[in-house]
Structures are given as C-alpha cells and as structure tokens.
Symmetry: C2
Subunit: 159 residues, 2 copies
DNA sequence: CACTACTAGGTTGCGTACAATATAACAGAA
DNA sequence: TTCTGTTATATTGTACGCAACCTAGTAGTG
C-alpha cells in the first residue's frame, strides 16, 4: 500500500482521537450544570425520545457494552433521573424509565445543542453547514467500514 | 439557529464519539501484540521520531494533560520501553528517552498502519483516498474551531 | 422432569481522561 | 537574600470503556 495512504490513515485516526476529546471538553461545562456527563447525556436523549428502554436497547443504541452502561445507569438512578426494574415477563431484562425529575431535565437541556453548534460553526454558516453535512456522510462510511472489518475479524476467530 | 444545524451538530458529535471507539477497537488487537495501548502507541511514535522529549512536550504533542501522561509514562517505564530522568539543568523537567527495547519495538510496529489503513480503505482506494484527504481537512477545521472556542471561554472566565 | 445451551445484566480489573490539588524547583523583584 | 509568583510534573478522585468473567433466568431437548 502506498506510503501516503498509510500516513493519511494514521493522521485521520489521531485527529478523530483528538477531536473526540475536544468535543467532550466543549460539552463538559454545559452538561456540568445539568449534573450529567456526555455518555449520560446521550442516554437521557434516548430516554427523552423513547420514554423507556431496556439496558440492551440502550447499549445497542449508543454502541456501549454492559460494563460501561450498568454503572452509568446506576449513577443516573442515584441522581434521581431514572428508575430500573426487572420485567415480570422476563426477569433477566431490566427496563429503564424516566422519573419526573428526569423528564423535567429535558427542558434545561434544550440550549445544549445550540451552544455546541455555535462552537462548531463560525461566520459562514451555510458553507460550513454543507461541509459538515459532507463530514457526517464520510464519518458514517468510515464507521460502517470499520464495523464491517471488525465483524470479519471476529467471525474469523470463531472459524 | 436553524433546527437542522442543531441536529447536524449533534449527529456529528455522536458519530465522532462512536468512530473514536471503533478506531480504538481496530487498533487494539494489533497493539495488544506489542503490549501497548493506543495512547501509549502514539507516545512511542513521538519518541521513535524524536528519540527523546520532556513530559510537557509529550503532553502538548498529544493534547493530553499530566494527569493522563504521568501514569502512562510510568507504565511504559515499567514495561521497559522508556526511561525517565530529571534534567540537571532544571530539576523540574523530566526527560523521557527510549531504551534499547523501546527502540526495537519500532520494527514490530511497522505493520500497524498498514492494518489500520486496510480496515478503513476498501476497493476504490483512489476515490476513498480523496475522500479521506477531504475528511482530514474538515477534522482539522473542526478541531481549530473548537480550540478557539475553548480558549475564548477560558479567557472569559479569567476576566 | 432433568439437562444443556443460551441470553440479559452485572462485576472486576486495568487503563485512560481530566479537574483539582499538591510539591518542588526556578525566576524575578524588593 | 528573602519573598513572591510561576513553572513542570505528580497525585487524587470520579467517570468512562472494555475484556473477561459471573450469575440468574429462560428455552429447548430428550
């Protein structure tokens, strides 16, 4: 493979790594006021939209495993935003629901996207909007690419 | 701000968050064989290029703070890849250097970029190369944008 | 029913990330 | 020289993120 492609791949990875942390740093002061972290915030976003969901659905929606999600939900429960209960129909599955306090938090979170957008967008919003739309598409392609590669690796291990 | 821009920003953040973890998952099996994590790997990349550096230089090159870098370097030292010593000229500064074992590791790491590139690039390498080059530019712009916004926030706090 | 396999979540251990704080060393002013 | 402020790094505490393992509940088979 061409040296340039190897260099490019490395630079992409490093930038994604750096950008992820820079984005978290942008969210942090906003979410601090709500008493949430970013992973907790996107968990709440899921619940604000769907009102409830099982642990498995949350793991799958956010691409997180139970080792991350279980303690995270425990903390959200301790903060009083959600409740957890085992389903009578299947005692293995745990259903997560919003509390009154959790539902009310949505109102306070309404300004978060605006703040983040204003950190990402500068003067020429139309031009930048087009670029970011393009960026979203490429990120999706890269994600799908990597997930496909990972599944191939994993099934190769089994066989 | 337009609702579409708010939605777009959120989707970008979520995808960067997901892509970062998917990339780490792609690196993990490769780096496991070297006995490195991704942050340790990019630390070694810096040292393979520069032979040595201070803790501060490493923090700044990788955009990590000392709370992350200090224990990371301690682990790299425990693995025998680096040594640390305080500079006689300034006892506050710690200089990190490669050991023989650390230098030799570079040879075993040569195939890593190739593997990652092959997970990211599929059939049409030229077309995809162009897209990823574009992606790199947009990531850089987003990074700079966010860093500028952050500096503004921080200096606003001081004043 | 007894046995086996599978599934949904939880727990443990290790390594980041980072805010907040601590500490020692240096640098400049009085 | 002493005091003061700053700098470079380390430490502590909290929260991910994930591999590996554990457990209880369910489902299918004979």
């Amino acid at each position: 493979m061409a040296h340039e492609q190897l260099t490019l791949s490395f630079q992409l990875c490093f930038r994604v790594y750096a950008l992820e942390r820079e984005l978290m740093a942008a969210y942090r002061p906003l979410l601090d006021q709500l008493g949430l972290t970013y992973p907790q915030y996107i968990t709440m976003l899921y619940l604000w939209e769907h009102e409830k969901g099982t642990v498995g659905e949350l793991c799958s929606a956010l691409s997180l495993d139970t080792g991350t999600m279980s303690p995270l939900l425990k903390r959200l429960e301790a903060s009083g935003f959600i409740t957890r209960r085992r389903l009578p129909s299947d005692e293995r599955t745990v259903e997560v629901s919003l509390t009154k306090k959790g539902r009310e938090l949505e109102g306070q979170a309404l300004s978060v996207p605006e703040h983040i957008a204003s950190c990402l967008l500068t003067s020429d919003k139309d031009e930048q909007g087009r670029r970011y739309h393009e960026l979203k598409l490429i990120l999706d392609q890269a994600l799908e690419q990597l997930r496909t590669s990972r599944k191939e690796r994993e099934s190769a291990l089994v066989n």
